[in-house]
């Protein structure tokens, strides 16, 4: 059986991560940023699962499940905050939320 080489998975994960990173650095909308963060997290999950299959152990997969749970929790909290912000500002533009600076 010809398996897909590990490098391909890692390359895909790196690509996903870079897309997510680009999104965070360029977009101003909170929703988009959260989506980008999810993208970066999932690229890491992909790495974990790929390594898990490569080394023939289950550690990575277990780790990935925890990571997904964490991402869900993070998304829940994040969207709750954005809901609150939306009620106050009628938009979720993180650039304008700068009252805590100097």
């Amino acid at each position: 059986m010809t398996a897909i080489p590990l490098t391909f998975y890692l390359g895909l994960a790196a690509l996903l991560f870079s897309i997510g990173l680009y999104g965070i650095m360029t977009h101003k909308s909170g929703i988009r940023m959260i989506m980008c963060i999810e993208l970066m997290l999932n690229s890491a999950n992909l790495n974990l699962v790929a390594f898990s299959s490569y080394t023939d152990t289950l550690h990575g997969q277990v780790f990935a499940i925890f990571s997904i749970a964490l991402a869900a929790a993070e998304a829940a909290v994040g969207f709750a905050i954005f809901m609150a912000i939306y009620r106050m500002h009628d938009k979720i533009n993180l650039d304008e939320l700068n009252i805590l600076r100097w």
Binding site: I24, M25, M33, L94, D95, L97
Partner: protein, 672 residues
Amino acid sequence: MVKTALEEFAFLIPLLPALAFAITFFFGRKMPSGGAIVPILAIAASFVISFMITLGLLANPEEVVNQSYSWFAVLNIGILIDPLAAVMLSMVSFVSLLIHIYAVSYMSHDPGRARYFAETALFTAAMLSLILSDNILQLFVSWELVGLCSYLLIGFWFEKPSAAAAAKKAFLTTRIGDVMFLTGIIVLTSDLLKVAGGFQEGVYLLRFDEIFSYIPQLSALQLNVFGFEISHLTIITLLFFGGAVGKSGQFPLHVWLPDAMEGPTTVSALIHAATMVTAGVYLVARTFPMFIAAPDSLMVVAYFGGFTALFAGTMGIVMNDLKRVLAFSTISQLGYMMLGLGLGTAIGLEAVGISLFHLINHAFFKALLFLCAGSVIHAVGTQDMRELGGVGKVMPITAATMTIAALALAGFGIPGTSIGTSGFMSKDPIIEAAYLFGEHSSNWIPYIFSIAAALLTSIYIFRLIFMTFTGKPRSNYHGHESPAIMTIPLSILALFALVFGAFTRTGFMNFLEETFANSFVNLDIGNLAGIGRNELVEAGGHEPLIVLWLPLIVALAGLAIAFVIYYLRAVKLGALASMKNPVYRLLYNRYYQHQIYTEFFSIGVVYGVIAFLTQVVDVIVDSIVEGIGIITVGVGEELRKIQTGVVQTYATAVIAGVSLLIILIKLIMEVL
């Protein structure tokens, strides 16, 4: 075998009084008469041990008691009981014992007597430890401890402002000397390290035998001051002498001692007459080989001692306070002891003998004088001699013992025989040595000082006797003889003041000469004197008859003067002893030294300098401190602009940082 067994207990000599201090301090208030019994028993035991060891040493002076325990790798605590330490130990524990017994009655009405007995026990422990220490550092620690006890006991009645001020004055004045002493120790240590080539484990450089063995090398170290080559040994010994000047109340640091009389009279007797103030003399005697090997040091000691003897005597004549007269007398007698040591420049090791002999005898008769004064004060309730008079009728034992002490102080005895009071036996050798010195070097100043001081001594002490005990009462007082527990110590001391000198004279001198030649140190004093460029003369004995008789003649003259003025009242005192007489005013105000030291030096110079320095410090330090503040605020102003509040900026910074880190790690891995 008995002797070796006793040596095992030598460490108990200071330890027992120290334990007594702890017990009395914590439980004394619950015990009868302030727990006095504990220190009395402890000091009695110390005295017995000291005395037995002294007897053992008398039989065999070569074998000194020496025990050493490691403290740090290069410092030790140790016990050294050689003839010098042995006589001091016996005297201190004996006098302290008698004074403690006396104080049971003297302090019986005082609510703070438990504290009193605890502090005197601590003092005795510290003093004994000072005497038997075998290294200079342990001596210094004990030296500071006795200073502390002195401070506590002068300020015993601290609710009296004058007592609190006197305690502070004593503490600060002696501190000047102590700082000099400590500086001397530091210089000595650094020099020893130089000549011995650094520390070695198990070699205790500050032990006296080590110090003495390096004297030639220390003497060779020279320091150039304004073109004069000064031996390091001279500097070290002069700094040590500075410490002795403070502790032993020598001019110009004697100002604290008269004020120290604010404490209980027993404290004056114990600390400020018999024991602590002699620590300075003991220090010079202990390091005598260093002094004699240092050019000029002993001359300084002799001049200061001689001058102090005379200077304090002049002030003693005009004081009206019973205890003040005795305080100036103590200063004057300490001057004699210092003079005796200083004359070692001519008579060598014999100087230690005559000086220590005077120290021991003085301890007996001066403690007696103070205790008698205390007896009078206790019974009559005043210490102003102008209000006394006729006390001899109501207090015959006190009057008799005090007269004996006065005779001893003035030095009455028949020259050329062994009939005489203790003071005669020990003061005359010092005056004769001063004569020898004068004859040898044609420098008569020490001799003139000592003879003049002898005349003054006789005048002031008999003035005190006549004013206190004879004539009619000059105020309304109700006196009564003191109880037996007070008069018995007086009688014992009076016995010692009368006959101790006559019995022990030659034996004592010979014993003391063994101090620097035994199993601990073995020094050739003549050789060391050569290093110090001191020419020793052969012992006297061929002085003209007038020299032998002159001290007695001036003592009799002093007695006659006091008798005429204060007993017969043949001279109108009003004109002489009034503030209109400038000499009287000068003496009565103690040469205005208090004013000079306090108002001119302390307030004018020290405070002035401090005020000036404060302003300088304000300008310099403030500008530094404020500058730092301004810089910090300015940098903060700029740096806070980094905090944009935009999430993306932060995220970018984090990512840039992490990337940089990874690249760095990668690079380092490549290199390694």
